[in-house]
Symmetry: C2
Subunit: 143 residues, 2 copies
């Protein structure tokens, strides 16, 4: 129930936190083994999954039959190189560039940027609608 400290878990966390390449369990195992040669793969898996359950890691599958562990738990997206299989974060700046590039290709034009406009009902108008609805209800009740 209560979590106890362990050097192995600390080492797994220290190893993966420094990384930006979202290593697999096997890579973490090899890395941590440099410090604790007797650590077992099972321990690495147990700790990685524990860290995930604690919300300190997220997992990604990219089609290479292995789980990749990512210390970045913010909402972000990933890029996989079709040639070397490397995995990297895509930040929003990159995403915006990708979208404009795609839109450029689709439109046959050079697109620099884009803006999205949402349409709906503002809070003021929503409040007025609610007032009217209540008024109608009162009238109905009074008749």
């Amino acid at each position: 129930m209560t979590l106890k400290y362990s050097r192995q878990r600390q080492a797994v966390w220290d190893f993966i936190r420094e990384r930006h390449d979202h290593p697999t369990a096997s890579t973490v195992y090899e890395g941590v083994r440099q410090i604790y040669p007797n650590i077992s793969l099972g321990t690495v898996y147990r700790n990685l999954m524990l860290l995930k359950d604690m919300g300190k890691l997220s997992t990604i599958e990219i089609g290479d039959n292995a789980i990749h562990f990512d210390p970045n738990i913010s909402d972000h997206e990933h890029f996989v190189c079709r040639r070397c299989g490397s995995l990297a974060d895509l930040d929003t700046y990159d995403l915006k560039a990708v979208r404009t590039r795609l839109a450029s290709a689709a439109a046959g034009r050079e697109i620099d940027t884009y803006s999205t406009i949402y349409f709906g009902i503002c809070r003021n108008c929503l409040a007025q609608t609610t007032e009217k609805a209540e008024a109608v209800e009162i009238q109905g009740a009074g008749s």
Copy 2:
């Protein structure tokens, strides 16, 4: 080199084409076994991968350590139920609904729809820019 007909491959294709739930190789195996009890899992894998290489199937990984096969090769997205693990297509209508819902929550307003506007240089203006550039080049060459 040349592809020859096989009942097994046909059965794999027939089975998966009817499906909208993107089954795994194991599910396909169980299904086709109803018709060809002697088919082997290896054959199912070989044919699924062959169909993929032929461009008739796409594959999806959703984090359950298994490859899901999808006869829908158009550009679409997927939804996974966190509870039952079921996998389904998300069509663009659903996607638009999801985006407006998310935007609504973020903006604290009721958003019905949205439109994205891209900014750039139109083909006409691009052509004029090119002409000017060429003119400059000619001047430079002539001086």
